[in-house]
């Protein structure tokens, strides 16, 4: 343990106190990257030269007293689907292999204003479509806990980078579980806020009605502090919500007395790995012993969330990804014959198989004659799912369940059967459909040595209840083992 082995908020305090400097923290991270990236491949692009300059500038501002705030000087990694002005942004796709945005996403701007030092852009499933980070055009990311396993996805690069100490915290995006599931697979804390809490401006859209940016971090305190910085009402995003309760760090209290927790029986039935189940239920018991009121209930409609999600997300994606055709930016094929051939060749060469699969499905469900049967049916199902949650939240402050039916699968296991992979999203997608906040906290390690995550789901705008409960649990649990490879000379091969 050195001064630099600490959380983001702790590091911020140490920098402010003059115990370490921002450039020192950055160099420590870069050194780890040098040792581990060849194996782990958390990043698509690293921007170390600019990061070094930024670290120097920020350090000077902190010393001059012109910059304060809990994250000033702390190195951060950004998922590669958020625009960063002047820095390659690929969405892990060939079709954006040369795209350098001219404006930054709002969340990134908020971090920069808070003195964050951006190390680079993290790997992900192509256009955030996938649950393993294996669909990236730029190669897979490996789970730092066990490099034969996936880190989860789609924010797998961000989750792995946090777990492996290749950043102090990261931003991810969550359309159907893409923050919470990889956080769970990598033994870090991941939070998806209520839809509309973080501006989507500059986030390259996958499913616009479901996408939300959120933090992946080493603990709940970091998550609360990061969310406090990035949440904002942004007039550039019409779906951004005006809130006056974004002082999330005020909820960092170890107290769950009287907190009503619902355990959906449907989340603990068939399909859930036994070790995952036991680990989560034992975590819930700890909360109960600390004064939470725990009760089982039937959430209902759980199995319909996945089909409804895939119809809605793919439909929106088929439209959102139409802009990538080789005219204005990104990859353009060669040797085409006329306009439409250029479109088709560019897109066929530029998109990977999973993205094509979803674009085709999305185009089909919206096409003439199928809109009502598929798209409207899915929107109606979404309304029913929302009602089911409303009913649950009339009785409970939050719902606790797994983030995924299993711990991280082995590389190459999931892509063989897309539907099987989609089923892995069963505990996460309904949260996006209903616009709810969710957080995953590590609660154990399975017999393979892979971390297990517990997911807490709150009602809209009830992030503080999630933070408070997760923080309490963290206190009860004590320090989490931490990723075995992290910080070790030579990393874990």
């Amino acid at each position: 343990m050195t001064e630099l082995d600490c959380t983001a908020v702790e590091l911020g305090k140490k920098i402010k106190a003059g115990r370490v400097t921002a450039p020192e923290a950055l160099e420590a991270v870069l050194a780890r990257m040098d040792r581990q990236e060849e194996t782990l491949h958390c990043y698509v692009t690293d921007d170390r030269e600019n990061a070094r300059k930024k670290a120097e500038t920020v350090q000077a501002q902190i010393e001059a007293g012109t910059l304060s705030g809990p994250l000033a000087g702390v190195p951060v990694a950004i998922k590669d689907n958020m625009n960063t002005a002047g820095l390659l942004t690929t969405c892990a796709s060939r079709i954006l292999n040369n795209f350098v945005p001219t404006f930054s996403s709002e969340a990134v701007k908020r971090l920069e204003a808070a003195g964050a030092v951006i190390i680079g852009k993290t790997n992900m499933d192509e256009f955030a479509m996938g649950s393993t980070t294996e669909t990236s055009y730029y190669g897979v990311t490996r789970n730092p806990w066990h490099t034969d396993h996936v880190p989860g996805g789609s924010s797998g690069g961000s989750a792995a980078a946090v777990a492996a100490g290749e950043c102090y915290y990261a931003l991810g995006s969550d359309t159907g579980g893409s923050i919470r599931q990889p956080a769970s697979f990598c033994g870090v804390v991941g939070m998806k806020p209520t839809y509309g809490t973080v501006s989507r401006y500059g986030l390259i859209a996958y499913g616009s009605s479901l996408d939300q940016i959120g933090p992946l971090a080493q603990d709940v305190t970091d998550c609360a502090a990061i969310l406090e910085v990035i949440s904002t009402h942004d007039p550039k995003d019409s779906t951004s919500v005006k809130r006056d309760d974004t002082d999330f760090t005020s909820a960092l209290k170890a107290d769950v007395k009287g907190m009503r927790i619902g355990i959906p029986r449907d989340y603990f039935g068939e399909g859930l790995d036994g070790e995952v189940k036991d680990s989560i239920l034992s975590a819930v018991r700890q909360l109960e012993e600390a004064g939470a009121v725990v009760e089982e209930f039937d959430l209902s409609l759980v199995k319909y969330a996945i089909p409804a999600y895939y119809v809605i997300a793919c439909a929106e994606a088929s439209s959102n990804l139409a802009r990538f055709e080789g005219v204005k930016y990104g990859y353009r094929a060669e040797g085409f014959d006329g306009l439409h051939d250029m479109y088709k060749m560019t897109r066929s060469e530029g998109f990977g198989p999973e993205v094509k699969r979803r674009i085709m499905l999305g185009s089909f469900v919206l096409s003439s004659g199928y809109y009502d049967a598929y798209y409207l049916k899915a929107l109606r199902t979404k309304a029913l799912i929302k009602q089911a949650f409303d009913k649950a939240f009339a009785k409970y402050d939050l719902i606790v369940g797994p983030a995924s039916p299993t711990t991280a699968p082995r590389l190459g296991e999931s892509l063989a059967d897309p539907i099987q992979m989609y089923l892995g999203d069963i505990y996460t997608v309904s949260v996006n459909l209903a616009g709810l906040p969710g957080i995953t906290v590590p609660c154990g390690v399975d017999s393979k040595g892979l971390p297990i995550g517990m997911q807490l789901i709150g009602d809209c705008f009830q992030e503080k209840k999630l933070i408070r409960t997760a923080y309490t649990y963290e206190t009860l649990r004590g320090a989490f083992a931490g990723c075995p490879g992290k910080g070790k000379e030579g990393g874990q091969a």
């Binding site: 089909p307 306009l339 250029m342 998109f351 094509k356 699969r357 085709m360 049916k377 989609y422 616009g435």
Partner: protein, 97 residues
């Protein structure tokens, strides 16, 4: 498999989505889409009669801008990533007129 996707359907979806598929990819796509639609057909078990389709989760409405010019000439930035540029414009293969 209840949903059988025809060659014509895949061809049509290819036109809509602007994707060119090899014969092999087409066969795979037919299979994948058929299976996925079978899976999605589970939704038919649900009675959604009288349920209003929900596109936005929150009842937020009337988000407007005022009619004031806020942007200047940003053409250099807009064209910065263009695969081909001429006369301050994006270049495409000649469109049929």
């Amino acid at each position: 498999m209840a949903n059988t996707i025809s060659d014509e359907t895949i061809e049509y979806v290819g036109i809509l989505a602007k994707l060119k598929l090899s014969d092999e990819e087409k066969e795979q796509a037919k299979k994948d889409m058929g299976r996925m639609l079978d899976y999605i057909d589970q939704l038919n078990e649900l009675d959604t009669e009288g349920v209003e389709p929900m596109s936005h989760v929150f009842p937020v409405h009337n988000v407007f801008r005022e009619d004031e010019v806020t942007n200047g000439d940003d053409s250099a930035a807009m064209l910065a990533n263009a695969p081909e540029e001429k006369d301050n414009s994006f270049v495409v293969p000649r469109t049929v007129e």
